[in-house]
Every structure is written in C-alpha cells, then in structure tokens.
C-alpha cells in the first residue's frame, strides 16, 4: 500500500551524523515497504496449509478460492506473529480492523484483498541499523497474499499478449505483514542494512524465514530526490527487487534517473516502476493515472481485533534477544566493534551463542569469533568444547595461527573425533619445545652472519631472512612470534 508521507526531516536527530548519498548536490529520500510472509502452519483466514513449493492448487479450500458462501476466520497465530514483529520494531500494538481492497485480477480470488487499512495492528516504532542509524516505522499491518499467475506465451511473462495464464492459488490467503518505514533512508547502504536487519529480526523472532529469493520477503522502495533540506519531490515506487544487493542498485539507479530528469527540467511522474535485474534499470509498470480506485471499506465478515493487554505482555515477555543486543554482547566479549564484519556476520548466521559458549568453556572468544567467521560450518560440526580447546592451544602458543586454521579444517571434516590435540599431533604440529626452536634460530644466525649483523644494527628488513630460514627448517611449524622474540633476546 502507499502511505502519504508528511514532509518532515530525519526521524532521529543522531541520524545527522551519518553519511548521505549525494549526486550533483542532490540527496535521495527513500522509504521501504516490506511484505513478509508469516511462518504460520495455516493461512490467514482458513485451515489450508501455508507451505511453499507444493503441487499447484493443492493447498486450497472454499475460503482460499473465494467460493460463494465461504467466510474468513482470522488465524490467531498470525496475529501473534504480527504482534511479535511490532514489539521487536518498538511499535505499539493497537486495536485494529480489516478492510476490503477491491480490484479485479485473476489471481485475486474474491476480487478483493482483505487487508488492514485505517487501523493497522501495530504502528509508530523504529528500527536501528547496526551503525546506529535509526529508521522510523510507520506501521505494520496484516493482509492476505494473492495467488500466483504464470503467463504463458507472449513477451516478458506479462499478462498482456500472453496466450493463456495459469493460476496457482496455494499462495492465496497466506498471511503477510506489510512493514512500512518512514522516508528516513538517505543512502543505498542504509536501505540494504535495513532489509538485512529486518530479515535478521524476523528470523530471530520466528515470524518468517524472510527469503527474498523465494519471495517470502518482498521489498518495494519509494524513491525521490531533493536538494538537502528542500521539500520532498514526487516519488516512484520500485518493485521486483529480489535481493539485498539489487535493492541498493535499484535505488541508486532510480535516484540518478530522477536527478537527470530534474536537471533537464522534465517532470518526475509518480508511477510504479519495475526493476530489471538484467539491464540494471527500472522501467515503467503503471502510472498513478491508471491506478485502480480500491474502494476500501470495512470488512463486514470480520470483527475488530483488540488483543488484551495480558496477551501483549505475554508476547513481549517471550521475545528472544534481538540481533542488535546480541551484536553488542558479542562485540563486548570479543573486543570488536558492533558493526565490524565478524560481529555482523556471525550474529546474522545465528552463531554468536556458539562463539560465546566457547568462552564459557574456557576458550578464547576473540579467536573463536575469528574461526567461526572464517569457517561457517564450525558451529554445526564441532562441539563447542573442542573449539574452546583449539583456541586455547592457539593462544598459549602450542600451535600457530596458521596451524590452528589447518587443525580446524580437519576438525570440521570430523577427523580424530574433532579433537584438536590429536589432529595437531597427527599433522606433526606437536608442541615444538623452546630448546628445539632455539637450536634452529642459532643455526639460522650461523648460516647468515651478514643478515644477523644487519639485524643487530637495527635493519628490520634483515629479520625476514632469519625468520624465513627458521620457518623453512621447521617446515612451517615454528611460531613466527616466538622466533622474533628469540632473535630479539639474542641481540647483543
């Protein structure tokens, strides 16, 4: 749906500190409308399964098909998931109603969509991006999905010019929440971060699998451009964006297209535009003038949804720790910043608990984070105490960082019961005792007196040759840091 935005400036004062995308002195103003398929067992208004990928037209019933005499009954679990999402987005939960959005389309069985229009179940919240940028949330409302049309023959899979159309009603009636942001976004990266963060929240609270590629999370972008501080200009809505990466590209393309129009003195026409992944451009889908009049009116077959405070409290109390808080915990434990790559990635992969548990098991959390970030399969294959053991061996110098990586590969592959000591032993990474290492260092000094002299004279470069010789003699098993330390010790 489209919301009439008020012309106010950034939602959060602290947003002013963040980088804005600009082009020839113009900035972008972006709001996102995200449709999320809720992970319920059944549909929003009937008992048919809500399941992706089944044989076409198998998950159907009289309500789904809009047969005469059929009546909708609201799915309580869908309401609960929408409440969870609203609370996770700092919104209020409110008394809500359903309306009918009337339009004819073959995959819209009743020729109206039941959607929340005037009174959404949840409104007025915000989403903080990992870098601290705050995006306002206008509302989140429940509605039913449509069926899926496949147009056969003709060009471009469009209905116009096709020979015939096939309709699969399995998706019709699947519960959706549409989350509408305020037009606070000023940079393509913020839009991408918003989509990623919303996805992470959805997965964390169990509301959706939120897969953009499968369409269980669909992001539409409202894009306009302006001179900073000026009034909002006419916007266009971009549809058919199927990945986070495309979202950034589509927004940037669209902003530049509009800037070019403004600069050429041509009008930006309010319209819906279709992102084409292949040519990297947006194309006109329909203009506002051809837009349907949806004739919204209250849905008389349903009653007001007014969750009792106890229910809201229960949902709130049962919310899991959200990704933002988990990033803070992981960052604090590992000494990284909250928006550093390892922290973002490991929380996104839901492996932060595993990393922290390695610390609880006596390991080094910073090293655990590094390993899990680089070897994503670790958490699924290696018992946490074994990972802890590995990090301890690494931190106390029993094995080198390079060796640790090799050992972990073997652990992930399940060798030697994933026991890092046994693997290290099998690989000959047995702790090299200091006397052995010292002999190698002495040998290197004896073999390269020139280099030793230069090193003692303070020429840093000379150290490389000496260390290299030791590494060669040890077949790579020597710890570079220990070798350097020994060389320093031996300096006269």
């Amino acid at each position: 749906m489209t919301i009439a935005y008020v012309n106010d400036d950034d939602f959060a004062p602290s947003n002013a500190d963040h980088e804005r995308w600009t082009h020839n002195g113009w900035e972008m103003v972006v709001g996102l409308e995200v449709h999320v398929e809720l992970a319920t067992a059944t549909k929003l208004f009937s008992a048919s399964p809500n399941r992706f990928g089944d044989e076409p037209n198998t998950n159907i019933d009289p309500v789904t098909l809009g047969l005469p005499g059929a009546l909708p009954v609201l799915n309580r679990h869908a309401v609960e998931l929408a409440m969870r999402l609203g609370l996770a987005l700092n919104c209020r939960i409110q008394k809500s109603t359903f309306a009918r959005k009337n339009y004819f389309y073959p995959d819209m069985p009743k020729a109206y969509q039941i959607s929340q229009y005037e009174d959404p179940i949840t409104a007025d919240g915000w989403l903080d991006l990992p870098d601290g940028f705050r995006v306002g949330i206008e509302r989140g409302h429940l509605e039913e999905d449509t069926g899926k049309s496949t147009h056969v023959g003709g060009a471009g899979g469009r209905i116009h010019g096709s020979d015939y159309s096939l309709i699969d009603f399995n998706r019709a009636g699947v519960p959706l929440v549409e989350v509408v942001s305020r037009p606070d976004i000023r940079h393509p990266d913020q839009a991408k971060a918003y989509a990623s963060e919303l996805r992470a929240i959805l997965v964390a609270i169990g509301a959706s699998d939120a897969k953009m590629e499968e369409g269980s999370m669909r992001v539409d972008a409202n894009v306009s451009v302006r001179k900073p501080g000026a009034d909002f200009n006419t916007r266009c809505e971009i549809k058919n964006v199927n990945s986070v990466r495309s979202l950034g590209r589509a927004i940037e393309y669209e902003a530049k297209r509009q800037i070019a129009l403004h600069e050429a003195g041509e009008p930006v026409v309010q319209q819906t535009r279709h992102w084409d992944e292949n040519d990297g451009k947006t194309h006109t889908l329909r203009s506002k003038e051809d837009a349907d009049d949806y004739r919204y009116f209250p849905e008389p077959d349903l009653v007001v949804v007014d969750p009792e405070p106890e229910w809201i409290d229960r949902v709130r109390a049962a919310l899991p720790v959200l990704p933002a808080a988990r990033r803070i915990a992981l960052a604090e434990a590992t000494g990284q910043s909250v928006d550093s790559e390892p922290v973002l990635l490991v929380v996104e992969r839901d492996q932060d608990r595993y990393v922290l548990d390695a610390g609880v098991a006596g390991g080094d959390v910073a090293l655990a984070l590094k390993h899990v970030k680089e070897a994503p399969d670790t958490s699924a294959t290696v018992p946490v105490d074994r990972l802890a053991k590995l990090t301890t061996m690494e931190s106390d110098g029993t094995i080198t960082a390079t060796q640790a990586k090799t050992v972990l590969e073997a652990m992930v592959a399940g060798e030697h019961e994933a026991d890092p000591e046994k693997i290290a032993a099998a690989l000959g990474f047995e702790a090299m005792d200091t006397s052995e290492l010292e002999q190698m260092v002495d040998a290197a000094i004896a073999e390269q007196p020139d280099a030793w002299e230069k090193f003692c004279a303070g020429e840093g470069k000379a150290m490389g040759a000496l260390v290299g010789a030791v590494m060669k003699a040890s077949k790579g098993q020597a710890d570079g840091k220990a070798v350097t330390a020994l060389l320093q010790q031996k300096k006269p």
Partner: protein, 479 residues
C-alpha cells in the same frame, strides 16, 4: 391431511412412529405436483433426494434412534443457501450449474435435527428485490392470488409455506426479505438478531445486514426452526458466542405487563387497511394486558436511504467474485478484462447491475465520505434511537409491509416504488435487532396483512412472546 399439520405435529408423529417420513414427503410432493406450475415457488424440487432422506429418517426411527426435533419435516431452502452437490443459483444465470462443495451451517443443523430438504426456492436474483420478479428463472406467484407477487426477495420460500409445499422454509433477510414476503403470503417470517444464526454458506448480498431465518405457518413452528438453526458457529466470525436461542418457553407467557411501543414518528405511507390492522394489533395486545407506550425513533425514516448505500456497497464487493475465473458461467473473450465484462454483462440481471453500480459509486474515491461514510453515521444513529426507545418499551409494533401484495408487473419498472416496500423492515437490519412478521388478518382484496414485532438485539424470545399473543388474537378475532 398432512398438509394442514404443523412441523411440530409432524415431527412428533414421525418420532413416535405413528407417521412415516416417507408418507409425509409423498404428501408434500403431491401438493407440489398439483400446484407448483401455477406458483413457481421452486428453482429445483429435490423429490428423489427427499425420498432417500425420508427413508433414512424412517430407518432411524425403526432402529429406535431419535432423528431429532424436526424428524421427517419437509423444509424448502432459499436458493442462496449452499447445498453440497446440489445446484445453488441465487436465481442468477451467472452461477451456471455451480454445485457448492459444502452445506451451509443452517442446512447441516436442519439435517442433524431430522429435517428433509424438498427443494431450493426462487428469489429475486442475489436477494435483490421485493417481489421475486427479478429472477432469471421467472417470477413466483402469490398462492393466495396468483396474479399477485409473493413479495421478496425470499418470495419462493414464503410461497412454498403458504401453498402447503412445505411446513417450514428458510429465507434470508437483508432489508426485509423474509418479513415482507411473509406478510404478503400470510405466513410467519423471522429475521433473528444479527449473529444469532451462522451465515456460513449463505451467498452474501450485504454481509453486515444478511441474516437467515425461518418461514412457518405458526409462531411455534418458527420458534422451533430458529432454535434448531441458531447458536454459535466458529466458522462465522460475526456469529454471537452464545448457545441456541431458547424461544418456545416464551410462547405461553402472555403479554401481561409487557410494554409495547408505538412509534409516533413512523414514516407514513402504509395503506389504510394496513394501518387498521396495526391498530387492531395494539388493541388486541392491550386487551391481553400489555401496556401500549408511545415512543419516538427519529432516525427510523432515514433507514431506507442509508440502506440503499450500505447494502449495494457491500454487494458491489461481494459480487465481484463472480468473474468467470473459478466457477459459474463464463463468456470467453480475447482477453481477461473483456472476459470479465462479457461474463458479467451476460450473467447478471438489471437490478443486480443497478446495485453494483450504486455501490461502486458510493465507495469511490471522492464520494466515500458523502455516501458510504454518511450512511454509516445514519446507521449508528438508528441503532442509538432504537436503544433509546427500548429503554422504555420491550417490543415495538409496526407494519411489516406498507401494502398487501401487489399485482405482478405493477412496480417492475419503478425501482424506487419497489424499494419503498422495505421502509418498515430495513431499520432493524441496520441496527442488527430482530424482527418478525405475524399474520394478522386481511386487507384489500382479501389479501393477508402482517404485523411486524421488533425487539432489541438478543431479545428474540421477548419478540416471540408478543408474536404468540398476536397469533392467538388473530385466530380468535375476525378481520
């Protein structure tokens, strides 16, 4: 003479084994055979289905089981109530030969009570009309005088009971579609409290107004039928969470001390014979001990205009699903939009198209506030005014129809005159309150006149209490 007995007498006789359901069904089928050609109450007579079902009921009795309170009672169903595997047409061409894959909740409840469906009755297409002339299958005639209309839209169900084709029938009432034909045919007809009876399987006209109810020859039969079909249904979100209505207990209570309201600012327009019978009804109840109280319901007169915005608005949306894509008739065309247009142009009759256009207009951008929005405000005013009146009275009496049955064709070309037929019935649809028509003598041409009893929501039993007294007075007194 099975055709003069009541549903209750039939059920008692069948349950006790003194009469077989098979004999009951044959007797009514014979009556249908004799007069249906003149009346055209039915779109479909289910003779074989009824016979099979009667055999089941008789087998149950023979096995010592109780088939239920409507054991062996033939029932006619308005043809907008879904019946599994049996064509359900709404008297429209657009449904084609569509057979619903399910029974309406009321149909299930009737069957569980031992009733036997004998046919699907004619109606104004999609229940839009007050004469049953707007049927794609031709008009139904009033059994009391076949040159006259039976009223509508449930004219087929009213005529079926009046003609003795069935002791009971079900209709639907969106603006008076049960009460007005009941009045015109001389039967009892009830629109219960909105939400008392499940709408699941009723093909919607105006969803916030539609309610299913019974026609019967006696108030007691109507009470029994309503007891059977009412009660919470989780499949209808607007169904009230309460058990079946308990009505028959109220029938013998009399009206001593009951406060009967006379609406002093009732819209005029009722003919003198109707006015006279209404006065007689007040007198009869006063004579039985009721207290007659004058009340005002100022917004009553705005009901008609509000209704003709709200009902068509909902209808324009409810009827959008008849698009030729998934069921019903389809007229093929070069593309989807042309297919929609051809299918709907061919499939819908004039009155249905008129209301779809009215409703679409009332909901359109720029007009919503002035039409639909304003009508909803009037609706709230009406509910408030009724509530105020019901603080002082227990029930209200009004005419059910402004006139007796009119001649077929009289109002066919004048939609506004037709719409005025529902002046007295519409307001209680808007407020959701119950109303019923009780035969109370005759008027011009010897045609029946019905008095309407109105009561506050969920006070259906009080309404029946007053209706039973009117019935006793009508039987005892001359008209």
């Amino acid at each position: 003479m099975v055709d003069t007995t009541t549903a209750i007498e039939i059920a008692d006789a069948v349950r006790s084994g003194t009469l077989t359901a098979a004999d009951v069904v044959e007797s009514y089928l014979a009556e249908i055979d004799a007069r249906e050609t003149d009346i055209h109450a039915f779109n479909l007579v289910l003779a074989d289905v009824a016979r099979e079902r009667a055999a089941d009921v008789d087998a149950q009795v023979a096995a010592g089981a109780d088939p239920g309170p409507l054991a062996g009672v033939p029932v006619a169903l308005k043809d907008n109530l879904c019946t599994r595997g049996i064509p359900t047409t709404c008297s429209s061409k657009i449904l084609g030969d569509w057979k619903p894959p399910y029974d309406a909740t009321v149909v299930t409840r009737l069957r569980d009570a031992g009733a036997i469906v004998v046919g699907k009755t004619n109606l104004d297409e999609f229940a839009m009309g007050s004469s049953t002339e707007n049927s794609a299958f031709g008009p139904t005639r009033n059994p009391r005088d076949t040159s006259r209309v039976p009223g509508g839209s449930s004219g087929g169900s009213a005529a079926a009971v009046a003609a003795g084709f069935a002791p009971l029938s079900l209709g639907s009432d969106t603006g008076g579609s049960i009460r007005q034909p009941a009045a015109l045919c001389g039967t009892v007809g009830v629109k219960p409290t909105y939400g008392a009876v499940s709408r699941l399987g009723l093909i919607a006209f105006g969803s916030s107004l539609d309610q299913i109810g019974p026609f019967a020859t006696t108030v007691e039969d109507a009470a029994l039928a309503l007891e059977v079909i009412s009660g919470h249904d989780p499949s209808d979100s607007t169904s009230i969470e309460q058990p079946s209505l308990d009505l028959r207990v109220a029938l013998d209570q009399g009206v001593d001390g009951l406060r009967i309201g006379r609406i002093t600012d009732l819209p005029s327009g009722a003919s003198p014979d109707v006015e006279a019978r209404l006065d007689a009804a007040f007198d009869a109840l006063a004579a039985a001990g009721a207290k007659i109280v004058d009340v005002e319901v100022p917004a009553f007169g705005y009901g008609l205009t509000a209704y003709y915005l709200i009902a068509p608005a909902e209808a324009s949306s409810n009827l959008a699903r008849f698009d030729g894509v998934r069921f019903g008739s389809r007229v093929n065309a070069p593309d989807t939009n042309q297919m929609y247009m051809a299918t709907r142009t061919e499939g819908f009759g004039d009155e249905v198209k008129r209301r779809i256009m009215l409703g679409t207009y009332a909901l359109s951008a720029g007009y919503y506030d002035a039409y639909y929005g304003r009508a909803q405000k009037v609706r709230r005013l009406i509910a408030r005014d009724f509530a105020t009146a019901y603080a002082d009275v227990d029930v209200l009496l009004t005419p059910a129809s402004p006139t007796v049955a009119f001649e077929i064709g009289d109002k066919a070309s004048d939609p506004l005159a037709m719409y005025l037929c529902d002046t007295y019935t519409i307001p209680s649809n808007l407020s959701g309150d119950p109303g019923m028509s009780v035969p109370f003598g005759t008027g011009d041409g010897g045609m029946p006149i019905g008095v309407q009893v109105l009561a506050p929501a969920l006070e259906d039993a009080t309404m029946f209490r007053a209706a039973a007294e009117l019935e006793r007075a009508a039987d005892g007194g001359a008209s």
